[in-house]
Amino acid sequence: MNCRECVEHLYEFLDRELTPELEREIREHLEDCPPCGEQYDFEELFLKFLRARCRTQGAPAELKKRVLRELFGD
């Protein structure tokens, strides 16, 4: 596993979408390679940031009422 391969699979690693074998190879590489480790931290933070920023919204209460009204005449 080299740095290019590691970076290429970084998102899949973060998303837990890799085969166990590839996942292990990436983990080992990250432990041994500080620059890739830094990038891993950066990307991980970015994904957490993204999720936090975008999940604050939910469906308006009025929409739920509207759906219930349309479906069940409530």
Binding site: E17, P35, F46, F49, C54, A59, P60
Partner: protein
């Protein structure tokens, strides 16, 4: 409005020319109309008016006067049916003026019509129901009239009516009452199948329906507990498994449509479609993915309807821009992200091409797996992977540019 009830070429059969009498199916809101129609005079007046309307178009039929008993659902007499615009057999492929510019887009059923979708194995069994009342709304019960002359009987309003609701199946799910057509379904596809809903045997399972037979305009009674469990169960499971995902649907709808009002409508439409198809959903499986698939289909249909050229950018050729090397020295921890507020992030997401946007939202906001996303978007997992990679990089690039612009980070000169 489409000329439902006005078209139809004469069909010659044997020695007698026969009128292509178009059937008018009429819909009332039961709970608003029945009270008035319950009075004998009103019923008669209505029947008279209906007859007058039908008589105008009527030409003698060889079978006139002979009783024709309603046959079973789907057992229609194709040879005796009048083709609508001469396209009875190929109606599904016919182009209709309603199609407008939107090619394969769904045809929206007009405001004063509703449609009925027949069982899947009876593709020619659809028909239109014309609304008489503009107050036909989802959630309101409709009396669906069959005022046909097929087979020579007088307009049979009293023994051939059904209770339906927009967006809900009737006859134990055999027929669906629609407020719009699905993608690919043409207005022409819902043409007349006169005997679909007339058969008493089909009504036998529904006390709610049979209670109306013979009494015509009796208002629908409130469902009593002993007949309502199926509905209650359906509702309960729908609320438990589908409505629980309203927030997810709304967030995704908001990112797809770009504004709260359209997002509301999209979610609403998704829920109606989902409820209509709830019997097809295997309970306890992945309701979120199932609902998102419906939502996305609805979005695409609407999107195609609105624009001829949805998206010309070849998203898969966009080269990603890696931000990390740019900030590696100055801010390897990505602290600048924290200074960017919600609205700016959402705005940046909204600027992504839709193929990237939907992939990123499903993954990074809603936490769905590549496999689930592939299923929803109907693309290979590899495409999900590559779009997600590019979407993230593109978004990072936009946020980075914004952070530089705002002075959150010095950045390297472009």
């Amino acid at each position: 409005m489409a000329g439902i009830g006005t078209g139809g070429a004469p069909l010659t059969s044997g020695t007698a020319a026969r009128a292509a009498v178009d059937v008018q199916h009429r819909a009332f809101i039961a709970d608003q109309q029945t009270q008035q129609l319950d009075q004998t005079g009103a019923v008669e007046a209505t029947r008279g008016a209906v007859r007058r309307g039908l008589d105008r178009d009527r030409i003698a039929h060889p079978c006139d006067g002979q009783p024709v008993l309603p046959t079973q659902l789907g057992a229609e007499d194709g040879a005796r049916r009048a083709p609508r615009r001469g396209l009875a057999k190929h109606a599904r492929h016919a182009r209709h003026p309603f199609d407008g510019a939107a090619g394969g887009a769904a045809a929206r059923i007009g405001e004063d019509e509703i449609g009925i979708r027949p069982p899947a194995d009876q593709s020619q069994q659809g028909f239109h129901v014309r609304r008489l009342d503009s107050r036909v709304l989802a959630g309101k019960q409709l009396v669906l009239f069959q005022l046909h002359l097929d087979g020579g009987r007088e307009a049979q309003t009293l023994h051939e009516q059904l209770i339906g609701e927009l967006g809900k199946p009737i006859l134990d799910g055999g027929i669906q009452v629609l407020d719009r057509l699905e993608d690919g379904e043409r207005d022409d596809a819902v043409h007349h199948g006169a005997r679909n809903v007339a058969s008493p045997p089909l009504l036998r399972n529904s006390r709610h329906l049979t209670s109306l037979l013979g009494t015509a305009m009796t208002p629908p009674q409130s469902p009593s507990p002993d007949v309502s469990p199926p509905v209650d169960e359906k509702r309960a499971s729908f609320e438990r498994e589908a409505l629980a995902h309203l927030d997810v649907l709304y967030r995704v709808a908001l990112r797809l449509t770009g504004n709260p009002s359209d997002a509301d409508d999209l979610v609403q439409e998704t829920m109606l479609k989902a409820y209509r198809a709830w019997d097809q959903y295997e309970k306890g499986t992945n309701a979120k993915a199932w609902l998102l698939t419906i939502l996305r289909h609805a979005f695409i249909n609407e999107y195609r309807r609105r624009t001829r050229h949805p998206e010309t950018v070849d998203v898969d050729s966009i080269e990603p821009f890696a931000v990390f090397p740019e900030v590696q020295d100055e801010d390897p921890q990505g602290a600048f992200f924290d200074k960017i507020v919600d609205d700016q992030v959402l705005k940046a997401i909204d600027q992504l091409p839709v193929a990237f946007r939907e992939t990123l939202v499903l993954s990074d906001v809603e936490g769905m797996s590549y496999q689930e996303i592939a299923q929803i978007l109907q693309v290979p997992v590899g495409t999900v992977k590559s779009r997600l990679f590019r979407a993230r990089q593109l978004l990072q690039g936009k946020l980075y540019d914004y952070a530089v612009e705002m002075g959150y980070i010095k950045g390297s000169p472009a």
